[in-house]
Symmetry: C2
Subunit: 342 residues, 2 copies
């Protein structure tokens, strides 16, 4: 690799001191306009780039942030990534992205990696496998700005960007009830994280408020750990086998819902005539499948933007040795009515 | 932000010299086992992390690479990102990701940003708007390892990971011919980049080899610059208006194909009875829509892995001041037959 051009080379070429070159590039008043012009011209000709590592040692800033997400190939998360990058770039920050594959072990290792890279802050959405939070508390103990989004841990004292999952799930279930469903199942995904718990609680509350019986046998867990198309297919098969009186399902991710719909279509079960379905997240796909999927719109891009904005605020405060009280930012969701419900 | 623990603090705590601490952590033979153990224990207690910036100044490595892609929320590109990150992590590299939004100006700015961040190498898929390549030649002139994938520029002398777009498009068109289509249109996307050109040429060649008339009026360009669902809808409308004798379309991206299919479904045009459709890329969505979409499978994850592997080879060579002859790595594609063709 060609050696990077240094201040010294510019100085040698012009026959002036390194200090003069450095001051000229920083626009110090004690350097003549003529010299400044000459230095800038030479720097450009030689393709000089300031050494950010050297700069970083001085300012203790890397101007990079780390992002750990469970999965990249996922409509919601790729929207979040897009939002974070867009906002970070505006403020001159670069984003290092890591994928935890829903693994607690990997998530822990990746946090260490980001810390040793001296990122200025970290944004994270937890792996489904994460039930111990000491790795996150370590980050906070080191006063490194940390923001969680979507899959959070309530007990960790940092800022969070979330939606009101309980309210959204309530809205989804209420819609099934309002459109005539009498026996409503729930595909809840994994036991953890918090959003899975909250969506389940919202579903349960809606049933209770409408004087409908809550039947734990109608709550289907995700056995494989990832919320996949196949999980939707498998749970749909089981449901048809065990509870063919079910006439509505609230499913906690669109991808799983689409898997279930594919299975119902295959078995000749009519949606919404036989079973109504509400998904969660509003993947693009939800609008183009047949029938189109009623779902909860989860604002991924906005969540990404909000998460970076909060992180940036905390990075700025940390530079001044100030601490910021953790904030919980809750974004709005909406029910998108389509053809999978009556 | 809490100051990072330094070698000096460890030295002070133990009452030994900074040099001794540094040597102990690096396992030098002239330091006793007992001291090494003590230093490691203290480093752990104080939560010492080696300062990578300082390390970087010495080794001139940042252990980060840059990735510039046109769009993140895109099934193919998110698979590529996943492949790059997976492979990079294996080799201890972190990946900074930037999105050019198909803009040449932004792409140029982002390359500068990555260079000033002193990444060890760069992987890029070009924006549709890029027709001038001096920003890429600058990177090569500075001997910074550079690998292009998918949307490449043939004239830029760096390694490339591609598929044989011409062959794949030929295969797609031949399938339409083999299943009885007599008048085949092509939605080609933008005039640039290279893969758009090659897919068009593959389509044309297949018609010629089968003694079918090539009619330029049946080639629909993308007017908006991005290959979107809406573009598919708009082109489908135009096609129905102008050429209702068309009985097959080869469309150069699944998302556009799905837009077109949605419009055909809306207007009561039967797929594949009235019009057969072949897409390109094999997005997940292609398998779940009705009818399911026949398409070309483009191995995004493998492309990402191959791109990082090649970059890593070039980074290693560059460290030894060696240069590597640019390679063109061509990955296999396959036709996935589904229900949108007869």
């Amino acid at each position: 690799m060609k050696e990077a051009v240094t201040l010294k080379q510019i100085a040698e070429k012009l026959g002036i001191s390194v200090t003069a070159v450095s001051k000229a590039l920083k626009d110090y008043p004690d350097i003549s306009k003529k010299t400044k012009k000459l230095v800038r011209k030479t720097a450009k000709e030689l393709n000089y780039k300031p050494n950010t590592f050297a700069v970083n040692l001085r300012t203790k800033e890397s101007k990079t942030i780390g992002l750990i997400i469970p999965v990249i190939v996922h409509h919601f998360f790729s929207n979040v990534i897009k939002g974070i990058i867009a906002q970070a770039e505006k403020k001159g920050y670069l984003v290092i992205i890591l994928q935890s594959n829903e693994s607690y072990e990997l998530e822990k290792k990746q946090l260490d990696l980001l810390m040793s890279q001296r990122v200025d802050g970290i944004i994270i959405s937890l792996a489904n496998g994460t039930s111990n939070f000491s790795h996150l508390n370590d980050i906070i103990a080191q006063e490194k700005p940390l923001v969680m989004f979507d899959k959070i841990a309530k007990v960790v004292k940092c800022s969070k960007v979330i939606i009101d999952d309980r309210k959204a799930a309530y809205m989804a279930t209420q819609h099934l009830i309002d459109t005539g469903c009498k026996r409503i199942a729930h595909f809840r995904g994994s036991l953890l994280p918090q959003n899975s718990i909250d969506r389940f609680l919202g579903y349960k509350k809606a049933l209770e408020d409408n004087n409908m019986v809550f039947d734990p046998a109608l709550v289907y867990l995700c056995e494989c750990g990832d919320m996949s198309f196949e999980e939707g297919q498998n749970n749909a098969k089981k449901l048809l086998n065990d509870h063919n009186d079910v006439d509505g399902i609230f499913i906690n991710t669109d991808l799983v819902a689409i898997g279930a719909m594919t299975e119902f279509n295959k078995q000749g079960i009519k949606i919404p005539d036989d079973i109504s379905i509400v998904g969660f997240s509003n993947w693009f796909m939800a609008s183009v499948i047949s029938p189109s999927l009623t779902t909860i719109d989860q604002p991924g891009y906005q969540m990404g933007k909000a998460a970076f904005k909060q992180l940036f605020k905390e990075i700025k405060a940390a530079k001044k040795n100030k601490t910021v009280e953790p904030e919980v930012i809750t974004l709005d969701t909406a029910l998108v009515k389509r053809d999978s419900t009556k």
